[in-house]
């Protein structure tokens, strides 16, 4: 069976591209090497929809960030994803830093960022009482927001699948052959054929490009460590609080998350390991020390987890690379989609569709495209009467599994069954937050594992945390059966 378009990589860019292409009469497949979508950079990042004052004017980053950020609110609403336009501040703690802040303001004006203004220290403190009193001023951007990056990816892929896109998990592309106007995309013995290819492989986009014949790119992983605090601290600040950026990146931020927790981080360190998930003492100590400049008294007793994300930086190129292959114009490469990749993703998806059209693909709008998708969290927001209607229809909505986040069996089964299907413990957690609360799965792990096994027709010992090799169990007890 031959597809019109194969998208390699189910991160936020791949998923939104899939959803964009699902508007048209096309056969589209997404090839994801992991057990779930959003497993690379989209899994663990700051979740900030940047205003767009940071990129250099005239770059793709500047144009796509501003355009993507403007699309995000409506997109999130269509996909049932939580998005808050909470605004951001870049805090200055000296006159030198304030000079940089003024430059960012100028850049924001040049980039066409809506809702930016300069604040005095007193104005900052009036809006954000926990900011360190040493603050001398800030750039405020009211058009900036927060969104859950993997939630957006999962919802985009789900909506794409609802509109006919296919998804293959654990499909690690290792070879691409080109002949007679088509690509044969191999993962071991398996092969998928497609007329057009989108390389949105994130951390591995350089290797996929090389498989098509473009071997001039090199991705370097940059890792960022974060700490996540309990929801009890989610209102410590309302804006995303940045520090003045340096050559190393945007610096350590303090921000509420779309789910209501407080996020502190990241570090930014170039590493070798593209799969890195390690947190370090040094990294977490650095975050605490650096964040202390913005807010002096962050209650780290309330940390519920720490994590590491990797971003795919491109060696020798600061801007996004979004262009057809030099060897074969029917392959579109997306490389170096680091920050502001999440903010730009909706605009990148449109850009890819336009490049495909330029490359000769006919885009005929589908009559029955439905761009709307229900949130996973419908049940929790229903009135008591509505909840009781659901429970009457399906009693499993009355059976509480995750106590901390109050997630019922019905919601977990629904998360496993819906597009994109959840095959692993982490996949369930990222869809409905079961196991993401204060006990971090202490109580519900055994129950969720049973549901994952039952719904996916697996043995309990086959259930994994995040794919092959991460099995939860090593076998049965002596008396177990």
């Amino acid at each position: 069976m031959k597809y019109d378009v194969a998208i390699i990589g189910g991160g936020v860019v791949g998923a939104l591209t899939a959803r964009e292409l699902s508007r048209y009469d096309l056969r589209v497949v997404v090839l994801e090497k992991e057990s779930d979508v959003a497993y690379g950079a989209s899994r663990a990042n700051s979740g900030i929809v940047h205003g767009g004052f940071d990129p250099i004017p005239g770059t793709k980053k500047a144009a796509l960030n501003v355009k993507g950020a403007a699309m995000m609110e409506a997109l999130a609403a269509d996909l049932g994803v939580t998005y808050h336009k909470n605004g951001s501040m870049v805090l200055a703690f000296s006159e030198e830093e304030m000079a940089t802040v003024r430059k960012l303001y100028e850049r924001g004006i040049a980039n066409g960022v809506p809702g930016i203004s300069l604040l005095t220290g007193a104005e900052v403190l009036a809006l954000e009482g926990r900011v360190s009193p040493q603050v001398v001023g800030a750039l405020r951007c009211v058009s900036s927001g927060i969104v859950c990056p993997y939630g957006l990816t999962i919802a985009a892929m789900g909506n794409a699948m609802d509109n006919g896109v296919e998804l293959r998990y654990e499909y690690a592309v290792d070879r691409i052959e080109q002949k007679d106007g088509s690509f044969s995309i191999y993962a071991g013995e398996e092969c998928v054929e497609a007329a057009y290819l989108i390389n949105s492989a994130g951390m591995y986009a350089d290797r996929i490009a090389a498989m098509v014949g473009d071997d001039e790119y090199q991705i370097i992983p940059k890792k960022g460590e974060y700490m996540l605090l309990d929801r009890a601290e989610g209102d410590l600040c309302s804006h995303t609080l940045f520090q003045v950026p340096t050559a190393a990146g945007k610096g350590v931020l303090v921000s509420p998350t779309a789910d209501g927790n407080l996020l502190v981080g990241p570090t930014s360190v170039a590493i070798d390991d593209r799969e890195c998930r390690d947190t370090t003492v040094e990294g977490l100590d650095y975050i605490k020390q650096a964040a202390g400049k913005s807010v002096a008294d962050i209650p780290y007793r309330q940390v519920i987890t720490s994590f590491t994300g990797v971003r795919a930086a491109l060696v020798g190129e600061e801007d996004f690379v979004i262009e057809p292959s030099k060897k074969n114009g029917r392959a579109i490469h997306l490389l170096g989609i680091d920050s502001p990749g999440l903010s730009s993703a909706p605009a990148i998806a449109e850009e890819v569709a336009s490049l495909l059209r330029d490359a000769g693909l006919t885009l005929t709008p589908k009559k029955d495209f439905n761009g709307k998708r229900d949130s996973y969290h419908v049940f929790g927001h229903l009135s008591d009467e509505e909840k009781n209607e659901w429970i009457k229809r399906d009693p499993s909505y009355g059976h509480m599994i995750c106590r901390c986040e109050t997630i019922t069996e019905g919601e977990i089964r629904e998360a496993i069954r819906r597009n994109p299907p959840a095959r692993t413990m982490d996949a369930v957690k990222r869809r409905v937050r079961a196991g993401m609360g204060r006990c971090q799965g202490g109580f519900c792990t055994t129950y969720v594992a049973e549901l994952v096994a039952e719904e996916n027709h697996m043995k309990p010992t086959e259930v994994t945390k995040f794919g092959t090799g991460s099995e939860l169990l090593t076998g049965l007890t002596r008396g177990g059966n």
């Binding site: 998930r277 390690d278 947190t279 994590f307 509480m400 901390c404 994994t464 092959t468 049965l476 007890t477």
Partner: protein, 419 residues
């Protein structure tokens, strides 16, 4: 019309059942126990080792046997209970909101409420252990449920961080199931568990207990492949030079229990910062009249026998409240000082409370200690104890005549006697 009950008990574990039986004994019949699990018994259901009930029944029972004794009485007395029912909210005016498959979301107006929700384990995130994020990291209680309830093995080669009782019990349990337990690491220079568990679960199986050690790094991509353990300095920071790598496929965490007081907080009941449970008086009544708390939701107990005893106090007191017999007085505050970390109760309703058993824990190991209760400059009571440790819950019996001498604030302190 909203359902009304004289006493609603949240939690059908050892505390909830003992409270229900005591309330029944005191003459209340309109009781409802709400239990989120599929059976009464709480965490005891998965505690299949013995050692329960020595104080209460004078014999060694397993957890399920201990629970069964109470459950049979609950059935025999016909005390109503609802299983698979999770309480979502309690309000200041004692409206309980719950959810179940049978009833959906429903509300009950209670005259009195007894909080008996138990506790949860401290997870990895709260410990902030650096390193990789592979599968194979479990709290000891989760591993216990996999092994004892599901008949499944969470790992074959195990390191345990924390020497809390569940960790010690699981070291033995995993060994009996054929796993190799490499070591139990304890951050503090003393164990957080009962001495008898260190002897019976570690020493008898030649499992090393490494005091002043912690896991400083977790290794592994898919599944845990090993941990780095390090000796810690006096500030509990790992010493890089004194580190070693231990290959293993599983890390179990037994690093403390946290009372589950989310409902308590949502009702606006003040909590004790040390116990993380409600502040209560000798009847285990919280700051909201008619709402009582007992068992591990109030403070973490060492033995279930004391949970039952405390729950019986709360059950009887809740019955007294419903029957209008509650004594009210000017109130006495009990302050913890010196090595005493906390006391339960933290208050007395009146100095006419009669005999009171004052429970407390110390914050460090004391050899040859003096326990002193003072009121102003007056020493009300002084006792000597040869050995005290943070893992053991202490009890001081205050006779009625001593209680009668209390005014305003009394202070309980513990000091080590010079050798």
């Amino acid at each position: 019309m909203m359902e009304a009950r004289e006493i609603v008990i949240i939690g059908g574990g050892p505390a909830g059942m003992a409270a229900a039986l005591a309330a029944h004994e005191a003459g209340i019949r309109d009781i409802l126990i709400l239990e989120r699990d599929a059976a009464l018994g709480g965490i005891l259901q998965q505690c299949i080792h013995n050692g329960f009930g020595l104080h209460r029944f004078g014999e060694e029972l397993t957890g399920p046997e201990y629970a069964e004794r109470y459950a049979r009485e609950v059935y025999a007395k016909g005390i109503p209970y609802a299983l698979n029912t999770m309480v979502l909210d309690i309000s200041k005016d004692k409206i309980v909101t719950a959810i179940s498959e049978e009833r959906g979301v429903f509300h009950i107006q209670a005259k009195a409420i007894i909080l008996a929700m138990g506790c949860r384990e401290r997870p990895r995130g709260a410990l902030n252990i650096p390193g990789a994020r592979p599968a194979g990291i479990y709290t000891a209680g989760t591993a216990q449920r996999f092994v004892n309830i599901k008949g499944m093995m969470p790992g074959k080669s195990v390191v345990i961080l924390g020497s809390g009782d569940i960790g010690l019990i699981m070291a033995r349990r995993m060994t009996l199931e054929g796993a190799k337990v490499q070591a139990v690491c304890e951050l503090m220079p003393y164990s957080g568990g009962l001495n008898r568990n260190i002897v019976q679960c570690l020493e008898d199986f030649n499992i090393p207990l490494m005091l002043s050690h912690t896991v400083s790094k977790i290794h592994g991509k898919g599944r845990v492949t090993g941990v780095t353990i390090s000796r810690v300095d006096e500030n509990l920071r790992p010493i890089p030079e004194e580190s070693q790598y231990i290959p293993c496929d599983t890390l179990l965490l037994s690093c403390g229990l946290i009372p589950e007081n989310e409902l308590t907080k949502s009702a606006g009941i003040p909590l004790d910062r040390v116990t993380s449970g409600a502040i209560v008086n000798e009847e285990r009544e919280t700051d909201i009249p008619g709402i009582f708390a007992c068992g591990n939701v109030l403070h973490v107990h060492d033995l279930v026998d004391y949970v039952s005893e405390e729950a019986a106090l709360a059950g009887k007191a809740a019955a007294g409240y419903v029957l209008g017999k509650t004594k009210r007085g000017t109130g006495i505050t009990i302050r913890a000082a010196g090595a005493v970390r906390y006391t339960v109760p933290q208050r007395l309703s009146t100095n006419e409370a009669g005999e009171v058993r004052l429970y407390f824990r110390v914050g460090r190991v004391l050899r040859g200690a003096t326990i002193t209760l003072t009121c102003g400059d007056t020493v009300l009571l002084q006792q000597k104890k040869r050995h005290m440790a943070p893992g053991e819950m202490e009890c001081l019996v205050l006779k009625a005549d001593i209680v009668a001498k209390m005014q305003d604030t009394v202070t309980l302190s513990c000091e080590e006697v010079a050798k």
